[in-house]
């Protein structure tokens, strides 16, 4: 089933829709967002210069730092009176990235997610359990609105408390699980530990996964463990949240809702726009957002675009699975973590040195992080209590910024590797 007729427009029709919406967006940000007005002026571009879709290349790019520099509402194109919702993602220096939505934006969002969950197989007949964390993050509420749009019965379960998840799953007859792929694998493991068979004793049919990338091997593992059809979808709060793109039943890439999000692929080093099928950094321009229209957002995700017709009947462009990052962001259990966030915490913690090493690994199916730091302050050696208090202090500070628990390992000074060039402080063992 295809949710919206906009998913089957022929290329010329789609380009016409995109151009009209792009022109409107550029005009609005020029008039209403001082940041974009000066960025456009700096490039000598007026809204009237956007005459074809290719003219998108004249527009300035937006990066995550721009959200920080304009914290909290500097990039907004509407006043607070028109906003009906805020969300935020973890920030790299303590301040989160704030996003806002008008009533129409929430409608657009529900529509975009509605398309994705339909692609994934979910209909009004399904009972959908959302096991993403609720709160400021866009994941859980974004999926909820889209699932309600298609008429699925939503269980706003949130993450954690796995045994209770399983009880509800069994008792409510959950047919669709919405979570990170690694959490879904973890739940399956706990189901088996509880003496049940995830395939026989539960009724899951669909796995709608996001929040972190996954591999084909992981999909197979998920399908084998649960007996489900597993798809993944893609999005980020800066653009809208979940709802940018998702996989259909043909499993040949994620269809981008390109009547709302215009994609480009660039060479991350030169900024040069690359052609169809070439791998590079995904850049997205939102063309229907009211509260927070974003021009050419550099997602830092590496992928490629494919325009040939899909077996599912949709004509929208597909992006391949995310192949990596053009920066050093890590995704831990669906939470985005930058080494710079960890560094900032460590540098502000007394008693330890400035060098550190981050180890990321899997324990079972769950992501774990270990932070190794050098102890420099001998005054804590009076007692184990003081030494343990120091590790607890570091752990608590990291939790405040990252929202996740980490293991702290203290080592002697000068034992961590020193780097002369670009430091390689992250060891990802996953």
């Amino acid at each position: 089933m295809i949710w919206s007729e906009n998913e089957t427009l022929d290329r010329e029709q789609m380009r016409a829709v995109q151009l009209e919406r792009l022109q409107d967006t550029v005009k609005r940000v020029y008039e209403k967002v001082p940041f974009y007005r000066s960025a456009l002026k700096e490039k000598g571009v007026e809204p009237g210069d956007i005459k074809t879709l290719e003219d998108i290349r004249l527009l300035p790019m937006t990066v995550k730092q721009d959200f920080r520099d304009n914290y909290p509402f500097g990039l907004f194109a509407v006043g607070k009176d028109e906003l009906v919702r805020f969300h935020a993602s973890s920030g790299t220096t303590g301040k989160p990235t704030v996003v806002g939505y008008t009533r129409n934006d929430l409608n657009t969002w529900a529509e975009c997610v509605g398309r994705l969950v339909t692609m994934a197989g979910v209909t009004y007949k399904d009972v959908a359990q959302i096991s993403f964390g609720y709160g400021l993050f866009t994941g859980a509420l974004g999926l909820q609105q889209g699932l309600e749009r298609v008429g699925a019965s939503v269980i706003p379960m949130s993450s954690g408390n796995t045994k209770k998840q399983i009880m509800i799953m069994k008792d409510f007859g959950t047919t669709a699980l919405i979570s990170t792929p690694s959490y879904a694998l973890h739940i399956a493991e706990v189901v088996r530990e509880m003496g049940m068979d995830p395939k026989k004793d539960l009724s899951l049919k669909w796995g709608v996964f996001g929040g972190e990338g996954s591999t084909e091997a992981m999909r197979k593992e998920l399908q084998d463990a649960w007996g489900i059809f597993a798809t993944e979808n893609y999005g980020m709060s800066e653009l809208i949240g979940p709802g940018v793109s998702g996989e259909c039943q043909a499993l040949c890439g994620m269809h981008i809702n390109e009547d709302h999000f215009i994609p480009e692929i660039i060479d991350p080093k030169t900024g040069q726009v690359l052609g169809e099928g070439e791998a590079g950094e995904l850049v997205i321009t939102t063309v229907t957002k009211e509260a927070l229209p974003i021009l050419r957002y550099r997602t830092k995700d590496i992928t490629s675009l494919h325009y040939e017709k899909c077996a599912c009947g949709r004509t929208t462009v597909r992006m391949s699975k995310i192949q990596g990052r053009s920066d050093d962001m890590m995704v831990l259990g669906g939470v985005n973590v930058f080494p710079s966030q960890i560094e900032e915490v460590l540098l502000n913690t007394p008693g330890i040195g400035p060098h550190y090493q981050i180890k990321v690994f899997k324990k079972g199916y769950l992501d774990k992080i270990e932070v190794v730091v050098e102890l420099v302050d001998a005054s804590v050696l009076d007692s184990y209590t003081q030494l343990e208090a120091l590790t607890r202090d570091i752990k608590a500070r990291l939790r405040t910024v990252l929202g996740i628990d980490s293991k702290i390992t203290l080592v002697e000074p000068r034992t961590l590797e020193r780097f002369e060039g670009k430091a390689k402080r992250v060891i990802d063992l996953r």
Partner: protein, 136 residues
């Protein structure tokens, strides 16, 4: 009345102790007492040596995290109940013992007991007042 003890941070890794003792050996430092408890992640090694300040300088220059602190060394009498007597004296005076270990000096028949307490000066005072032999 108080003796100098060195506390050294020891990550729980193979070879850390050997690296430490070889540095002590190279520098001709005589270990009088050594104590470390088992922990999962890291340990604090307590050391009594002949020249604490010199040893500390050497350890720091070798990259160890170490500090000198004061402890009490007492010589209990060789009879049942002598440790019980010492602990009661401290308890009755509301002094908490943080840790304790013992060491034997050559040419002495009896082990010395090293004590770290919550109030070192007062602990020495009450022990002496009660006739306990505190090593100078």
């Amino acid at each position: 009345m108080l003796i100098k003890q060195i506390s050294i941070f020891i990550p729980n890794r193979k070879g850390t102790l050997a690296r430490l003792t070889s540095k002590l050996r190279e520098n001709g430092i005589d270990i009088r007492a050594i104590s470390v408890f088992d922990t999962t992640e890291f340990g604090i090694l307590r050391l009594v040596v002949d020249d604490a300040e010199k040893t500390l300088d050497m350890l720091k220059s070798e990259g160890f995290v170490a500090k000198v602190s004061d402890v009490i060394a007492v010589e209990p009498e060789d009879k049942p109940g002598s440790l019980d007597e010492i602990f009661h004296i401290l308890a009755d005076n509301d002094i908490n013992i943080e840790y304790i270990y013992s060491y034997v000096m050559r040419r002495h028949e009896l082990p010395y007991i090293v004590l770290k307490t919550s109030d070192m000066e007062r602990a020495v005072g009450v022990l002496k007042d009660n006739g306990i032999k505190v090593i100078e």
